[in-house]
């Protein structure tokens, strides 16, 4: 019955790179990386990186069971073969050095019958347990000792019979046996298809040390024991049974199986993990045995209830190594989660079982995940390598981003061109509002749309004046001007007139953007200046562009020039160059069409809109601004703030931008710094602020958070309001914020010594303040009120400080000193452990 389907795979317990496969033949394989295997040797690929080479092979005829010994100092694994005849022979499959003289040894039972199971002990590697079929009343469990039997069998050969060290199980038949892991010389044996018993070979007498109960009607075929633990598992034809060797009277778990399991094995590298393979299955099943309790004495469990079912539970998983139905599998003895499966076709498949990996992300940006019983973290280089928003936000917060007094200073910290541009614009619009150039009810940061009223409101009319190009006398364009447009141009950074524009040109050139400088000059009709700028440019290609520009000025056939320009413009690298040439081409026409310039979306929005302010009629300008704003608002592009200003439209735009980028820090700070107070109370802004505060809290950046709140308070128009105050126990009024305007020194005639006045009673009701728990004096602060605008208050040493649990307190300095040496409250008879209420200080704080 067994011989037809027998085929198994066994790892050597000591040689971690060798295993045997036995079926018709017994073959010893060695595993190596494919790249380490010599070219000519043939190998079987077992995974993408590893291959197995055959070392030796012999016929498996008549062999009924095999096990590999755990004897360590052997060059090759020693096998014990259990034969049909009842003999057990030792072999190494390969002729090799044999220091112990074990190879070729034979052990035979008194009466010949089939040998069903052999098992080497892993703790005492000289012991071999053999399980036999039934023969009358003969013992069926035999224990052989390699060392002890040496003298007897050494030369006399097969004629003289060696004696087993121990024999058990008279009159029974053994299907399988396994060494138990919890004690030496203890065997778990599957007897007569009905019982699973434990034999303690240290005791004399043939009785079993324990019988696993609840086996029921299942026919038990195999047994295995967990290494160094108490769990036993047996496979039957309809179930898997799991027992705890300490409470065998009821199974821990009975797992019904639709098909008889073929092999069952405990994972040697992880506790409580049982692997089983069903017949004709292409998947392995992993049973993670869960127990709800430690071992309890049998009486306790017995009183708890009847003995059906078990106290365990298994988390089951299916693992498919791939490659169709499996014949057998073997866990690697040392490598975690590595197993080798043998397909029915003979293919060998190596597989690593993935464990459930848990992971978590800390507020500081640390990522850890679990690998079995240990944790892993990404290497330090990783954090530096990736620039995530979380890191950028934190870096900026540490640099006081958004909190600098001057708005443009924040632009330098923004680490983002779009954001930097916005901060610069806000700084500009703020200065314009403060200078009175732009008056706009309540808006701190108006946009272009605010200063250019819509056409329908009819509030302004621009005056169109024809202007000549000084360097190209044949051409002229219409320039529009009005006070509103002037303001818009100021907002956009151009300013009205060539004087302002020239400054912009020089700035752009200094910034290393000669194309923009040239375009600005040409838009102000100064082609000569543009030529100068381009000819000064470092890149030779720009000087070529200057040539085209010059040619355009004096070209005899303008139509030809225009056509060639239309063909060449898309090839130009710089949007400003393209716009510049488009503009020149357009000016040559009677009714110039500037759409090519206005649609050059790679130009900065400010420049496009400013250009429109110069050359578009009122209606067209309005349309253009509205269209641009709608597009930017839809996309959530920050540049749109230039058009709409930081008002309610601006908030909508910021919200979109935030959802696109996740940068709540900038959104919160922009709103806190630049929005009028009624907009700060908008639900969206409050949400941003709350989220950013939570972030700062998680990073322990109290200063940044406090500064943010201070800015908010300032924006609200209130003088820095006190958020925390100490109130008098008796009158409930604030102790510190004394009515300083009316406060008079108690002894008016004696001048207070350098404002170092002590207040040890409530300034309102004159009741004394509580006493310090350490020095027993009344608490008092220096009389620093708000009258002189003095910031900072009393020195820290005299601050009120108390425990939130027991409400005892005192002077901050005294308490610091006290808790430096004690954990308990300084007030006698109070056993509050105030110092232990907080989390332990991080070590860097403790050092300082």
């Amino acid at each position: 019955m067994l011989s037809t389907s027998k085929s198994d795979i066994i790892w050597s317990p000591v040689h971690h790179d060798k295993f045997i496969v036995w079926g018709h033949d017994i073959t010893l394989y060695e595993v190596a990386r494919i790249k380490d295997i010599e070219k000519k040797t043939s190998y079987t690929q077992i995974s993408s990186t590893r291959g197995a080479t055959v070392i030796a092979s012999q016929s498996g005829n008549g062999v009924r069971c095999v096990d590999i010994s755990a004897i360590s100092d052997q060059p090759d694994p020693i096998l014990a073969l259990g034969l049909e005849s009842g003999r057990v022979t030792l072999t190494s499959l390969k002729q090799a050095y044999d220091p112990l003289g074990l190879i070729g040894k034979e052990f035979a039972a008194r009466y010949p019958r089939a040998c069903n199971s052999v098992a080497w002990s892993h703790t005492e590697s000289n012991l071999l347990a053999v399980g036999m079929d039934k023969h009358r009343a003969d013992n069926c469990v035999l224990l052989w000792d390699m060392n002890a039997s040496d003298e007897i069998t050494g030369e006399t050969g097969a004629g003289e019979r060696a004696r087993a060290v121990a024999e058990r199980g008279a009159g029974d038949a053994v299907q399988a046996l396994a060494w138990c892991g919890f004690a030496p010389r203890t065997l778990a044996v599957c007897l007569n298809l009905r019982n699973v018993k434990i034999f303690d070979l240290r005791e004399s007498g043939g009785k079993a040390a324990g019988v696993a109960a609840g086996a029921g009607s299942t026919r038990w075929m195999g047994v295995c024991a967990e290494r160094e633990a108490y769990l036993l598992a047996a496979r039957g034809d309809s179930a898997l049974g799991v027992w705890d060797a300490r409470s065998l009277h009821s199974p821990l778990l009975m797992l019904p199986q639709p098909r008889p399991p073929r092999k069952v094995q405990w994972c040697p590298t992880r506790r409580n993990l049982l692997l089983s393979l069903r017949r004709d299955s292409s998947t392995l099943r992993l049973h993670d045995i869960q127990r709800a309790t430690d071992f309890k004495s049998p009486e306790v469990v017995e009183t708890a209830g009847n003995d059906e079912g078990g106290a365990g539970e298994a988390v089951e998983r299916e693992v498919s190594p791939g490659g169709g139905p499996l014949a057998s599998f073997a866990c690697h003895p040392a490598h975690r989660a590595r197993l080798l499966a043998l397909a029915t076709g003979g293919a060998l498949l190596e597989h690593t079982v993935g464990e459930r990996v848990t992971l978590a992300w800390g507020a500081g940006g640390a990522l850890v995940w679990a690998a079995g019983g240990h944790l892993r973290a990404p290497p330090a280089v990783f954090a530096a390598d990736r620039d995530d928003l979380a890191q950028r936000t934190r870096r900026r917060a540490e640099a006081d981003y958004g909190l600098k007094v001057d708005l443009w200073q924040n632009a330098e910290l923004a680490e983002d061109e779009e954001l930097a541009g916005l901060w610069h614009f806000l700084a500009l619009s703020k200065s314009l509002v403060e200078d009175g150039c732009i008056r706009n009810g309540g808006w701190k940061h108006p946009g272009v749309r605010c200063v250019l009223p819509g056409a329908g409101e009819g509030s302004y009319r621009s005056e169109a004046t024809p202007a000549l190009l000084p360097d190209m006398p044949s051409r002229k364009v219409l320039l529009y001007r009005s006070p509103e447009r002037t303001r818009a141009l100021q907002l956009l950074g151009w300013g009205w007139g060539w004087e302002n524009a020239l400054a912009g040109v020089e700035r752009a050139e200094a910034e290393g953007k000669p194309c923009r400088a040239a375009a600005l000059a040409v838009f102000h009709l100064r082609v000569r200046t543009a030529l100068d700028v381009l000819s000064r440019a470092r890149s030779p290609r720009l000087r070529v562009a200057a040539l085209a520009l010059a040619a355009g000025g004096g070209a005899p056939d303008e139509r030809l020039w225009r056509d060639s320009l239309a063909a060449a413009a898309p090839a130009l690298p710089d949007p400003y160059l393209r716009a510049l040439l488009h503009f020149l081409a357009a000016t040559a026409q009677a009714h110039p069409d500037f759409s090519a310039v206005l649609n050059e979306t790679e130009m900065r929005l400010e420049d496009r809109v400013a250009f429109a302010c110069l050359y578009l009629s009122d209606r067209h300008l309005h349309e253009y601004v509205e269209r641009a704003h709608a597009g930017l608002s839809e996309r959530g592009a920050l540049a749109g703030v230039v058009l709409c200003g930081l008002g309610s439209d601006g908030l909508t735009l910021l919200q979109r931008w935030l959802e696109r980028t996740g940068d709540v820090q900038s959104a919160a700070l922009l709103a806190a710094r630049c929005c009028p107070p009624d907009l700060v109370r908008d639900a969206r802004v409050q949400r941003w602020l709350a989220a950013y505060r939570a972030l700062l809290d998680g990073w322990r950046m109290w200063w940044a958070r406090c500064a943010l709140d201070t800015w908010l308070g300032a924006a609200d128009g209130e003088e820095r309001t006190r958020r925390v105050a100490v109130a008098c126990t008796y009158c409930g009024k604030c102790v510190a914020a004394a009515p300083s305007a009316r406060v008079r020194p108690p002894f008016a005639r004696l001048p207070p010594p350098a404002a170092k006045m002590k207040v040890s009673s409530c300034p309102h009701c004159r009741k004394p303040l509580p006493r310090c728990g350490v020095c027993s004096l009344h608490l008092g602060t220096s009389a620093v009120g708000g009258a002189g605008g003095a910031v900072g208050g009393a020195p820290f040493d005299t601050w009120f400080s108390w425990c939130v649990a027991c409400r005892h307190g005192g002077h901050a300095a005294h308490l610091l000193h006290w808790f430096g040496e004690h954990a308990e409250c300084p007030v006698s008879s109070c056993s509050c452990r105030c110092a232990a209420l907080d989390p332990p200080d991080p070590p860097d704080v403790r050092r300082s």
Binding site: T49, G322, G364, L367, F382, A390, G662, A683
Partner: protein, 374 residues
């Protein structure tokens, strides 16, 4: 979408945690400076950052009589408080206290004391989470028999007293849950929970499952008017068993992002719809949900997902023993930006035939009387 170039693979560092068995959960405290781990060896360990990128073990104790599935920190405003849940059918609240017996030099030594044991569940408690702090000291647990329980500590100074506020039975086994972290005080969003079920899809299960929705992710919301929690949504896009889910930190967004670990890594955007009318019986659709990304790079099964503090990076772990990071690109496009191999031998790439592991489920307890007596 998730293609990975060779230089995206990273070797990882090991922290020797020395748990005797599989670690089931890792949790950071609010500041990211303390870490708690729990394992099948029934122990919980607490680690403190040493300031140089390393972790120092400061406490280790046997917390339960079974595998400890999850561990979670309360907001530091409530003290140093942990909650754990276990196979032994209980959840426990732990508080750190200074050692009573120590004196002098040993006064820094701290111990964790069990403040309360929540024993209402009849089956394994699969997840536990503290609520957002503006709701007070709330705790939610879920169990394998599908009951979600919400506890509240009426007095935050007394962690021994927890009242069971709500009990919501679902008909399916619940494996994980997540609070919506959005700050509801300014958001006018009601408190919201997402729960995920690991109930396997049986081939002929149509008769058993819910008639109209066989999704595995449910949204529960607390209604202020009826003072009850009610299931308001079932995400129909997730139909495979769910192993983990997590709401992203809501950084001012007008929508919620939910990451789901199922057959694939899934990122779902939930956009609250404006209330059609003020009737609060909750029958209408509350959200427009949209699957932003679904990555099956973890061959077949994803175990855990976790967001970084800004919700711009998502980490996921799965069957391929890899940890992958997903990064938000322009316009809510997500892309894999790093892969960490778990095995130190970095050349162990998946075999040709693409091995797979499928998670079945927890077997039922055959005899509850054998469970430890509380």
């Amino acid at each position: 979408m998730g293609e990975v170039s060779a230089n995206n693979f990273f070797e990882s560092q090991t922290i020797i945690a020395d748990h005797k068995d599989l670690i089931h959960d890792v949790a950071f405290d609010f500041y990211g400076e303390r870490m708690a781990t729990c394992s099948s060896d029934q122990y919980v360990k607490v680690w403190d950052a040493d300031g140089q990128g390393g972790w120092r073990l400061t406490a280790s104790w046997k917390a339960h009589h079974g595998s400890v599935w999850k561990v979670t920190w309360a907001h530091p405003e409530f003290g140093q408080v942990l909650a754990t849940c276990s196979f032994d059918r209980t959840a426990a609240i732990w508080e750190e206290v200074g050692d009573i017996t120590a004196s002098g030099s040993e006064k820094g030594l701290r111990t964790w004391v069990k403040r309360s044991n929540l024993v209402d569940s009849r089956t394994s408690v699969t997840d536990v989470k503290f609520g957002p702090k503006h709701l007070g000291l709330l705790l939610v647990t879920c169990s394998a028999d599908g009951i979600i329980r919400i506890y509240e500590a009426p007095d935050v100074m007394n962690l021994a007293q927890w009242t069971l506020q709500h009990e919501m039975p679902t008909k399916v086994s619940i494996s994980c849950l997540s609070w919506n972290p959005s700050l509801s005080r300014v958001n006018s969003n009601p408190p919201m929970l997402a729960v995920g079920s690991d109930e396997p899809n049986l081939a002929n299960a149509n008769s058993q499952t819910d008639k109209n929705c066989n999704g595995k992710v449910f949204i529960y919301e607390h209604s202020e008017s009826s003072r009850r929690w009610a299931k308001t949504e079932c995400l129909a896009s997730v139909v495979e068993p769910v192993n983990d889910l997590a709401f992203a930190p809501n950084l001012g967004r007008s929508f919620h992002l939910l990451a789901v670990a199922t057959k694939d890594v899934r990122i779902i955007k939930m956009e609250p719809l404006p209330e059609p009318t003020s009737n609060s019986n909750g029958c209408g659709v509350r959200f427009r949900s949209e699957v932003l990304a679904a990555f099956d790079d973890h061959s077949s099964c994803v175990w855990r997902v976790s967001w970084n503090v800004t919700g711009t990076l998502l980490a996921s772990s799965g069957d391929d023993c890899c940890v992958r990071l997903w990064k938000m690109q322009y316009l809510n496009q997500w892309r894999c930006c790093a892969v960490f191999k778990n095995e130190s031998s970095g050349n162990e790439s998946p075999a040709r035939t693409r091995p797979r592991t499928t998670y079945t489920r927890l077997a039922a307890i055959t005899n509850p009387t054998h469970m430890p007596h509380h």
